[in-house]
Symmetry: C2
Subunit: 495 residues, 2 copies
């Protein structure tokens, strides 16, 4: 199966839109041809991990569920294209057993032995290349670690305890005023505070790490959110590596997401329609009425909106989004990550990591795997900083790759998240001020709509883990809400 | 409500069996007085976290569930007695967000802000007391940490990487032969290997830490399992503190366990009977027939045995347990932890930690909280080493407490796990050889019985997390199994 999403390039075929994907669902709908007057218990809009979890949990609990998705595939901002026996992760990739929601699911599906470590420093160049406009410096990976750790510890040490004092419970919904005050700062502001203590190389390492996390610019990256990532990652650079970039699925993310879908489907309670972007939602006390762009209408008692923050404004909600939600959606999140995979013939690059900054379109990369043909897989990242559209100029994309480290490219694979109408960006990252003012607004229910997204999870916000956290919350909330409503003697009828 | 379990002592009332417990269930059964000829989808035997999770998940998924429990309360080896507004944790206590299964549930029930830190080093004696037959030494807590870390790193450094090389995936079901070879050693064997490298104080600190983990003796404690705890705890002493003894529920464990029970009950699919110890189980291709000691019989298509390893031999299984399971049950686990709470008038002890070893009946203790009346709560641990029965001689119990640090005792609270017929010991801890030979046997299904217990979890075996892992596994397995069976055209009828 293939998805319309994503691009691949080879010398022979040039740039092609659409790539193979085991998460593309066939048939794209299981609804009857002639629309029936069904009132679903819940309509879930969005089939990323959040929507999949909510739909699955509701279906397992016996609710009649309709899952609507604009794309032709599941997974939202996390999906893999398996090409010639090798998965290229187009979005969210890494997972860790310290992330409770995702690990619980991995355990539950018996997939705990299907993880592998992304990097492999056992052979090859085994070097960290630090490229700036002055040239290239090369370091051993333990020197890279020391530089990163030392730089990051300076960045986060706002309390003399590397964040442990100011943010002792990273999973709380109730941060102290001292912690929330960090949301007034951008990382650029924080870097200005410590500018005299960072060495030039530490500064390069720290800035690229931050941009790798946020996909924004230093000015648009909330320091609070950066501290939150640090706290979640066990307050250490080693933790950052383990939680953020170490373990991925041997078979790709879509091999995991498909389990949620299959489980939901097996209950017999799941109706679904892919290629069905939602245009409008009418939210009344009697239930919700969802209209697709094609003009098809669906009714349900409740709705789970599992769409990202950045696209909420593209849906016509009636009544409109609450003032707080609207304000958050108008602000949006800042992550315009450019993630590009290169399959290269240089076997020695398997143990490469490096940055190229601030001049290069892709500022961070690492050797992320070996394909069955023995090629090396390099994954490279850019973002709002020096932003470019990789599909618009493949030569520029290749230049940005070569600007990291010289490589002999056989294949390029990527998803342009910035031009993706169902995401309008990559994983959530907050600009200063958004979270301290609107996190509660984003999480709030409105009428019969439950808003769920990794974008406003409490714990691993922005991560697959946060998506499952939120899908779990929404699935349970809908179930409890319907159970309560159905005990009332007079059930409202849908108009 | 009160449970028959547990003991409390005060000067005024002396020793009394039975303590208050919000996990004691009233009414103790919701079954009809006159037994009906019901065939349940699944009977779950045991209402600890494992059984509660399996019963809840099955009930939520629409299965007709019967939950049988020998005690008058939920929680199994984890329960709290809330006395005068303060919870004393009689068994499993601490949880952490790095433990995926338990944290997922805490999040799901919105209890992430209900945790507090056990210790408080902000005021009082603020000292680690190291007592041995030569006398008492006192250390600052950072000296305690340094001693523990240095000693433990010597203990675990079998691979030059503090366990990271030999056990890189602590959650795997497939350990390497090198890792499994560690199961041939007891901790006593390992200590003999490193005897020249430990300082005398490091040795005392490490030995008491190991005994605190295992509740056995150094000779009966599997070094493999100790390494597994270390790997799970992020391969560091700091990790051990965070994962093992730092965060507990402000309202006590039973405030958490009750949520599982209430959710299951709210589905309308849960039948239950407490005070109903199971005596015999007939396991036929057509289903299971469970008989209680009272002689009541119940039928179900499937059974989840959520009983601990150490009591499997007290149930008459027909056909008998498989050879491997029987062998594991005959071996049993070694944890005979003696956990004793003292409410003391010494406010300064709030910041006390200490050991008294090898001569004392209780070898480890810490200031674990402050009661509403301003007293300090000390929790103390003993085990198979210098084992004693705290209910048989309260003077000896007091002496063992005073042998740790002088204290002015107002109240003592404990559960004697060794004399508990439904546990026959505390949390699972393996002797050498058991896990490398019988882990798969313990986990295996037998006919229509799914065996689930924290005792044979893959990840946080022995912990609440492992119990939920196993309950999740069993609940899902039963659901899948019944769904598959019911697609067959000829359903077997129960005899």
């Amino acid at each position: 199966m293939s998805s319309r999403d994503g691009f691949s390039w080879t010398e022979k075929d040039g740039l092609k839109a659409g790539v193979p994907c085991i998460g593309a669902i066939q048939p794209p709908s299981n609804l009857p041809e002639v629309a029936k007057d069904t009132v679903y218990d819940v309509v879930v809009v969005g089939a990323g991990y959040c929507g999949l979890t909510a739909a699955r949990d509701a279906a397992v609990a016996g609710l009649k569920v309709l899952l609507l998705e604009g794309r032709d595939r599941i997974g939202g901002r996390s999906w893999s294209s398996n090409i010639r026996g090798y998965p290229f992760e187009m979005g969210g990739t890494w997972v860790f057993w310290g992330q409770s929601n995702v690990w619980r699911e991995i355990k539950r599906y018996g997939m705990e032995d299907e993880l592998e470590i992304s990097y492999d420093f056992s052979r090859g160049v085994n070097r960290y290349h630090l490229v700036n406009e002055q040239g290239t410096q090369k370091f051993a990976h333990d020197e890279e670690d020391a530089m990163m750790e030392s730089g990051l510890r300076k960045l986060v040490n706002v309390d003399g305890a590397y964040g442990k004092k100011i943010m002792p419970f990273p999973h709380t919904s109730k941060f102290t005023p001292e912690a929330l005050a960090l949301d007034k700062l951008s990382v650029a502001d924080r870097l200005a505070q410590i500018k005299d203590s960072l060495t030039p190389n530490e500064r390069l390492a720290v800035e690229t790490f931050v941009l790798l996390c946020s996909g924004g610019t230093l000015e648009t990256t909330s320091f609070f959110e950066m501290m939150h990532w640090w706290a979640l990652s066990a307050y250490s650079y080693e933790g950052c590596i383990e939680y953020l970039v170490k373990y991925k699925f041997h078979g790709g993310q879509s091999s995991f997401a498909i389990r949620f879908f299959q489980e939901a489907l097996a209950t017999g309670n799941l109706s679904y329609a892919f290629n069905s972007p939602v245009a409008a939602v009418k939210n009344t006390p009697a239930g919700v009425h969802v209209t697709t762009r094609e003009g098809k209408g669906y009714r349900a008692q409740r709705m789970v909106s599992a769409m990202p923050l950045n696209i909420l404004n593209s849906i016509a909600f009636n009544p409109p989004l609450s003032v707080g939600k609207k304000s958050a959606a108008d602000t949006g999140h800042v992550n315009q990550c450019v993630k590009v995979h290169a399959e290269v013939r240089d076997r020695d690059l398997r143990s490469y990591t490096g940055i190229s900054y601030p001049h290069n379109g892709l500022f961070y990369a690492l050797g992320d795997g070996e394909t069955p043909s023995g090629n090396t897989h390099i994954v490279a990242f850019g973002g709002q900083h020096q932003h470019f559209e990789p599909d618009e100029n493949i030569e520029k994309t290749k230049e940005a790759l070569q600007g990291l480290v010289p490589m002999d490219i056989e294949r390029i694979v990527f998803h342009n998240w910035s031009k993706d109408e169902f995401a309008k960006g990559a994983w959530f990252f907050s600009k200063p001020g958004l979270l301290s003012t609107h996190l509660g607004d984003m999480r709030a229910r409105q009428g019969n709509i439950f808003f769920a997204s990794s974008d406003w999870a409490l714990g691993w916000r922005s991560f697959i883990d946060g998506a499952i956290e939120e899908g779990t919350r929404a699935g349970l909330a809908v179930r409890n809400d319907l159970a309560q409503a159905r005990q009332t003697p007079l059930k409202p009828k849908l108009a």
